[in-house]
């Protein structure tokens, strides 16, 4: 029993990271119908932004270190997301969707490749500094809950709730939903689609950066290729929940995290990735629109 509870706690904290990254995929898809493969690299850059900020900027050596570094990384990645959208995606806005998709893969590879050059991050793994004192938060008969796990989970939930409010309770969110529904009609109503799209990238990238910092703190080995596997899992989470759907991304992420923890805990680790991607295939076969997805196409 203790073992099961421990597996569930581990799965929840890993799943909340997947959920944060999945939100970025889902946001961009919801607005642009584009799978932004460069998103996993933005996540990696978020981790490194935090790493360099904590290391080089003396202002970031004092408390509340965690929040300052987090804010810095989110801002840096928001800028990166903005730049990627402006340079790589906007010129292709009116071209067939496949062009943008291939460009996204290209941008992802480019950032990964550049990151591995010694001039940037270098190929060898780096050690992410501890931004918060970790410790035992709770020990219930052998079930251990760490402060960092709690911080990861709480941060993820706070960010997700914030995002949800922003999308459904603000003018900007309404604009985003309008552009997602029909960009041309939204433009006729006085909404500036380019701005809304840029803002979507800013939002998604900032969330990815937050995930990058949370991953860096819990698993302090960061490297330029760290985004690949986590990004793919998050993508699976987004599809599982119904890509384009914010609640679905959250649920999908947490579900994938839990499933992985249980598969490794009670099965073998060799099947960890196989099960995650197996779920993707099953979802695509049985309910292509995902758990929370609508069957009706958003665009006609």
């Amino acid at each position: 029993m203790t073992e099961l509870v421990q597996h569930l706690i581990n799965g929840l904290s890993l799943g909340s990271v997947y959920a944060l990254i999945a939100l970025g995929y889902t946001l961009v898809y919801g607005v642009l119908q584009l799978i932004n493969f460069a998103h996993s690299e933005v996540f990696m850059l978020g981790s490194f932004a935090g790493f360099y900020a904590a290391r080089w900027l003396p202002a970031f050596r004092e408390e509340p270190r965690f929040l300052v570094v987090l804010a810095f990384a989110m801002a840096a990645c928001a800028f990166v997301g903005l730049a990627i959208e402006r340079i790589a995606y906007r010129p292709l806005r009116d071209k067939p969707r496949l062009n943008a998709l291939i460009t996204a893969i290209g941008v992802s590879m480019l950032i990964q490749g550049l990151g591995q050059l010694p001039f940037f991050m270098g190929p060898s793994p780096q050690f992410f500094p501890s931004l918060l004192a970790d410790g035992q938060l709770l020990d219930l008969g052998g079930v251990s809950l760490r402060k960092l796990q709690m911080v990861t989970f709480v941060s993820a939930v706070v960010l997700m709730v914030g995002l949800h409010r922003l999308i459904f309770h603000t003018r900007l969110g309404t604009a985003m939903r309008a552009v997602s529904f029909d960009a041309r009609t939204a433009a006729l109503m006085g909404i500036h689609p380019d701005r809304v799209i840029a803002f979507t990238f800013v939002l998604g990238s900032a969330l990815a950066a937050a995930a990058g910092i949370l991953v860096g703190m819990s698993y302090p080995r960061i490297e330029p290729t760290m985004g690949v596997m986590l990004g793919l899992k998050a993508f699976v989470a987004a599809v599982l929940g119904g890509i384009g759907n914010v609640k679905g991304a959250m649920a999908g992420g947490i579900l994938i995290g839990l499933v992985e923890a249980l598969v490794v805990g009670y099965g073998t680790s060799s099947y960890r990735d196989a099960v995650a991607f197996g779920i993707l295939i099953l979802v695509l076969v049985i309910k292509p629109s995902g758990l929370f997805g609508r069957v009706v196409a958003e665009k006609v």
């Binding site: 073992e3 050690f127 251990s144 805990g265 960890r272």
Partner: protein, 397 residues
């Protein structure tokens, strides 16, 4: 060792050394040895003994190559300074293989066919030694690998030797150490299923530990590159082992150690030479205190021979030696001894002399070549204390 283990501290240095090596002619006489006599060109090599060396002086594993090169230079210098072998000096011809198996093969052919060396020393990486070995074998020129641990390197090739132990041996060593020194009965295993090295070590550990009367309570696995090991560790925790054997590479082991401590597992972790990197404790922090791993050699081995070697090495090259240079030093010394006992530079006679090597007192321990041309020698076990590996024990085969 089969996989890149970057040691970034040495990279800058290695790069400069390799630049030097490539810029001033590919073919270079050993720094410490007098350059060959003018008349020694051609195939006779009258009055001198010629060793060929193939090393990765540039490329990703440049530190391995330069350390090996330095070790050989140091050994040859010592022998020549003491008058050489029967009045003949040793000359070393070195080629860089850039860390590529194809280059290593080409360099070996050139050394044997064109330069007509009497013996070849190389390589560190098993993949490159495997490319070189058939060439040495078919030309009947003895080859000594200082540090390739893959069993296949010497298999079925009676001219190919190695002076390090093979991968499986490390698993046995750790089983012996855990059972006899740590006196533990219950051990869990966490192996990297994507890595032959890790699987090999784990298999031999499981086998030997069982034979010695211990119990393997759980055999778990992970895949290199994973970042979350909590699920495996939670399952391991439930079996309450007295130690966990994790024969992976340092990048994963660092995270595993951390997460084990986070889950409240406080038993020592045990591992192999894949742990040997400064990055290990950087990632693991204090999580590995009191853990042990097996290695070829220890910097603070109390043995006088090791201390003497370290001093000489540092005086010559201005940097601390590592396992690679110690192994290369021993390789060159064993080669020289073989020439001495054979009383000839004939390939077949040299081979027979090498095969007879018994209890050679090297820096990396007493080396005996067995019938499979692998070295039978002790391994050292290092403990991690104060975030540094320190000598804990020597385990004999």
């Amino acid at each position: 060792m089969q996989v890149v283990r970057p040691r970034s501290i040495l990279v800058a240095l290695a790069a400069s050394v390799s630049l030097f090596a490539t810029s001033c002619e590919k073919k270079s006489a050993a720094a410490g040895a007098p350059a060959g006599d003018a008349g020694s060109k051609g195939d006779a090599h009258a009055g001198e003994i010629v060793f060929g060396e193939v090393s990765s002086l540039t490329g990703q594993e440049a530190t391995f190559g330069t350390s090996t090169h330095n070790g050989i230079l140091l050994a040859v210098k010592e022998i020549n300074d003491a008058g050489g072998i029967d009045g003949k000096k040793i000359r070393v011809i070195t080629y860089d293989d850039q860390g590529k198996p194809t280059e290593a093969a080409a360099a070996t052919t050139r050394l044997i066919v064109q330069d007509k060396v009497h013996l070849v020393i190389g390589e560190v990486a098993s993949s490159r030694s495997l490319a070189m070995a058939p060439i040495a074998q078919s030309n009947k020129v003895p080859m000594i690998s200082p540090s390739s641990t893959n069993p296949r390197v010497t298999e079925g090739k009676d001219y190919v030797f190695r002076i390090c132990f093979v991968d499986p041996f490390q698993g046995t060593v750790m089983a012996k150490f855990a059972r006899e020194t740590l006196k533990v009965d219950k051990v869990a295993v966490l192996r990297d299923v994507r890595n032959d090295y890790s699987v090999g070590l784990a298999n031999y550990f499981v086998e030997s530990f069982g034979k010695l009367g211990g119990t393997i309570v759980l055999d778990q696995s992970y895949s290199a590159g994973d970042i979350d090991f909590k699920a495996q560790l939670t399952t391991i925790r439930a079996t309450s082992p007295q130690a966990i054997y994790v024969p992976g590479y340092y990048t994963d082991v660092g995270l595993i150690a951390r997460q084990a401590r986070e889950l409240g597992i406080d038993v020592p972790l045990l591992g192999g030479d894949g742990w040997d990197s400064g990055k290990l404790v950087e990632i693991a922090g204090d999580a590995l205190e009191g853990s042990f791993f097996s290695n070829h050699y220890s910097l603070d081995d109390p043995d006088q021979r090791v201390k003497g070697f370290l001093q000489k090495y540092e005086a010559q090259f201005g940097q601390a030696s590592d396992a690679m240079s110690a192994l290369a030093y021993d390789a060159a010394m064993i080669a020289a001894q073989a020439v001495r006992t054979a009383g000839s530079t004939d390939g077949t006679k040299l081979r027979d002399a090498l095969a007879r090597t018994k209890d050679f007192q090297g820096v990396t321990g007493a080396i005996t070549i067995d019938s499979d041309r692998n070295a039978v020698k002790p391994a050292v076990v290092l403990a991690i204390k104060g975030r540094k590996p320190v000598y804990a024990a020597t385990v004999n085969p």
